[in-house]
């Protein structure tokens, strides 16, 4: 684990990108989607209403980070696809959330609350 950290392999690059970006990556994890499909899927998945302005900001950020890519347009809609570094970053972020979540649950148990 420590050696992985030293190599920077499991560095959580998604820690500072915001919730919208993480939700987009989760939504794209099962296949490419365009903006409207992303908004609908995220609403269903996490009960979060992503505004279109927030969506495009997050898509641009993720693309700049090399985590997703824009595919050729279908009609006027551009689908987006998660790339290998994006999938790896999402895995690391979800692992990190799981560790924090487990620690939180354990502390709640120990505290008897």
């Amino acid at each position: 684990m420590a050696s992985e950290r030293d190599d920077g392999i499991d560095r959580d690059v998604l820690r500072r990108v915001g919730e919208a970006s993480v939700l987009i990556l989760i939504s794209l994890a099962d296949g490419p989607k365009h903006g409207y499909a992303l908004i609908r899927d995220i609403k269903e998945l996490a009960d979060v209403e992503l505004g279109p302005g927030t969506l495009y900001g997050a898509l641009d950020r993720l693309e700049r980070l090399g985590l997703i890519e824009q595919l050729p347009a279908e009609d006027r809609r551009h689908p987006y696809r998660i790339m290998a570094p994006g999938a790896a970053a999402l895995r690391v972020h979800l692992d990190s959330l799981e560790r924090v979540s487990a620690a939180g649950r354990l502390r709640l148990q120990l505290g008897g609350i």
């Binding site: 908004i39 347009a73 809609r77």
Partner: protein, 139 residues
């Protein structure tokens, strides 16, 4: 009528984005807004979301903007270096001329009347001017 008002509202919000963003996303963003309005999302909240996005877009530093900043800084540095070189070049002949005269006499102006030893300066002279005869003693 209501639909065209909503369309105008969204179009107005999309115009607030930088041109680079509009070229890339504007068509798709307008279509997405139409679909969301059809689903029942108020046009006002979509427009507000786009306005907030446009603000973020303008405030986010871009590599190209950083590059242009660096280019401007380099240009400015080059200009100031050019001015410094120009100044140095124009100062060089004067310095060369001053070396032909005895040291310390370069500031002396033979055309100006020299104060007589022990003469009292005029009352209108500033304190700084009163100190000047000290330099003039070297002449």
């Amino acid at each position: 009528m209501e639909e065209s008002r909503a369309t105008r509202l969204i179009a107005g919000a999309l115009r607030c984005y930088p041109a680079r963003w509009r070229r890339r996303h504007a068509d798709e963003a307008a279509e997405l807004a139409t679909l969301l309005i059809r689903d029942g999302t108020p046009a006002g909240s979509i427009a507000l979301s786009y306005l907030a996005g446009a603000t973020r877009e303008w405030l986010t530093p871009r590599p190209s903007r950083r590059l242009s900043t660096v280019a401007c800084a380099l240009l400015l540095a080059a200009c100031s270096l050019g001015v410094s070189v120009e100044l140095a070049a124009s100062a060089a002949p004067a310095k060369a001329a001053s070396t032909s005269q005895p040291h310390g006499h370069a500031r002396c102006r033979p055309d100006l009347p020299q104060p007589a030893p022990g003469a009292v300066p005029a009352i209108s002279h500033s304190p700084l001017a009163l100190r000047e005869p000290v330099h003039d003693k070297s002449c």
